[in-house]
Subunit: 118 residues, 2 copies
DNA sequence: TTTTATTGCGCAATTT
DNA sequence: TAAATTGCGCAATAAA
């Protein structure tokens, strides 16, 4: 945690460190720098990928959301309709005012709880 | 588009460019570098902000989505129930099998198409 | 301790 | 001409 700089020693051209080392350490340094530079590229690439995916994710979720909202709207309307139908029938069993409606079609339109995504 | 380097001239210590310029240009250079460095920080900060917001966006959308799915599920069940009720009544008007159900409560539970977000 | 992964930062090229 | 972006390398340091 102190001043180790174990990884990289700045190119200290003037002022050798040990005694029996010519340019071996320089090569080592370069080698390490190059490897790190590669790692950096890799890391940044991954990062960009994630960001991109996140944006895509937002798009998908927005679309899914829209679909669900439409569905809720439709279901609500159908329920509203049935509700009125019921009330009418209940309050006046002898006057099937709405009885003539396309009940069959309505029942067909009822979603069967299919379409379950994630 | 060529090799202009209009913005920054690398610190060419040795080898003056003009003749009547001592370190004015160096100061200029520094000044420009510093300003650019600031701009860079600012830009990267904004970038991170956007990324962060995007992540937040995903979370919110996911939550909203979950809510909508639950709602659809509930509405579907209610419709399913009414559907059966209807069929029972239609096929056998004299045998109100399901008539005893908590119709009132059901009707109350019906969403009133409120809650319209964006 | 060594190696790889992340991150902040500055330079320069390029874009706006 | 200045500010905003972006690719890139260095070094510190976090994570393996």
């Amino acid at each position: 945690m102190i001043l180790e700089n174990i990884f990289n020693m700045p190119p200290v051209k003037g002022g050798r460190r040990g005694v029996s080392d010519a340019d071996d350490e320089d090569d080592d340094y370069r080698k390490r720098r190059d490897r790190n530079n590669e790692a950096v590229k890799k890391s940044r690439y991954k990062s960009k990928q994630r960001t991109q995916e996140t944006f895509t994710r937002v798009s998908k979720l927005k679309a899914e959301n829209q679909m669900l909202e439409d569905k809720v709207k439709t279901l609500t309307k159908e329920l509203q309709f049935l509700k009125e139908l019921f009330l009418a029938h209940a309050s006046n069993a002898q006057t099937p005012k709405l009885e003539g409606v396309d009940l069959e079609k309505l029942l067909e339109d009822i979603p069967d709880e299919k379409e379950k995504k994630t």
